[in-house]
């Protein structure tokens, strides 16, 4: 599809995730880009990393996406024993499904009819990146980091999620070594759906607690 991209003379289109690509190889070279090239070359020349390792690392990060988390959530919705394992040791349960999450220490918090959970990192932007991929831009903003802990309900409303006063909001600030995943509540009317179809309802934001799963 045509995509207007100021400053570029050709069409970058949209990425597979539906977002515009960021200005890249044909923009003017910056100081920090030169630093990246220089550091990478020096690390390679000194035998600390290889070009293949850099490429493999990029591929590994690109392969991580919210779809991984969605598969975990859908499994938990379908399999009570798996859900129990996920809530008691999130990392082991993800590894059991074959996901390469590295050294991630994952705590999974469950949304119920009484509780809505929300994840933030006020000190930086910690995120379960080895499961879900890189965090959304809004997660790293000053506004989100500042406000999510003091007015979570208001921030949720801005994202279209209205948590009634009868429910408890639990905010989780990722201050140290744990990373967090919200296990959203399974939507009503999904009894006949299989795991794959259910995973399609699980959005990235619902696993951060800033959204809800899609309705079937």
């Amino acid at each position: 599809m045509p995509h207007d991209h100021p400053g570029h003379d050709h069409d970058h289109g949209l990425s597979p995730s539906g977002h515009p690509f960021r200005a890249d190889n044909d923009a003017p070279l910056t100081y920090w880009q030169r630093m990246e090239i220089a550091a990478r070359e020096l690390l390679i020349e000194k035998g600390i990393v290889t070009p293949a390792e850099v490429a493999a690392q990029i591929d590994a990060m690109d392969a991580r996406s919210p779809a991984n988390g969605a598969a975990v959530v859908a499994r938990a919705w379908c399999d009570p024993a798996f859900k129990a394992r996920l809530l008691s040791n999130g990392s082991d349960a993800c590894r059991e499904m074959g996901f390469d999450i590295g050294a991630l220490h994952l705590v999974v918090v469950e949304n119920t009819e009484d509780v809505h959970n929300l994840i933030v990192c006020t000190l930086c932007s910690c995120y379960p990146r080895t499961l879900l991929g890189l965090p959304p831009d809004w997660y790293k903003t000053r506004a989100y980091r500042s406000r999510a802990v003091i007015e979570p309900r208001k921030v949720l409303r801005e994202f279209g999620v209205d948590v009634p006063d009868s429910m408890t909001v639990r905010v989780h600030d990722s201050t140290a070594d744990m990373r967090y995943l919200v296990l959203p509540a399974r939507p009503a009317g999904t009894d006949g759906m299989d795991e794959t179809a259910l995973a399609g309802l699980v959005t990235r934001d619902s696993m951060i607690g800033m959204g809800l799963p899609k309705q079937p």
Partner: protein, 87 residues
């Protein structure tokens, strides 16, 4: 009954992981997480001693007082033992 703890009010300069908005606030231990290397030493490239880490749950009323949206809502954060006083 859950163990009550208070986050120390100290404010040393440098890399620490106890957020300022929780300093001096009282909560209860939600779960122990085990020992992790002290980020206050790791940050400077030093050998780091393992420190016990806890998830501590605070009520929004305790943290924000009258500014809380709903007093019974909660906030959980991971706090190292050397930032906690047992009550």
């Amino acid at each position: 009954m859950a163990e009550r703890v208070r986050v120390k009010t100290m404010s040393p300069p440098g890399h620490v992981r106890a957020p300022h908005y929780l300093r001096g606030k009282t909560g209860e231990i939600e779960r122990p997480l085990g020992a992790y290397k002290n980020p206050e030493q790791l940050a400077y490239g030093l050998d780091a001693a393992p420190k016990e880490l806890f998830r501590v749950r605070f009520t929004m009323a305790e943290i924000w007082g009258d500014r809380a949206e709903r007093a019974e809502d909660t906030l959980d954060a991971e706090i190292y033992a050397h930032w906690l006083e047992r009550l």
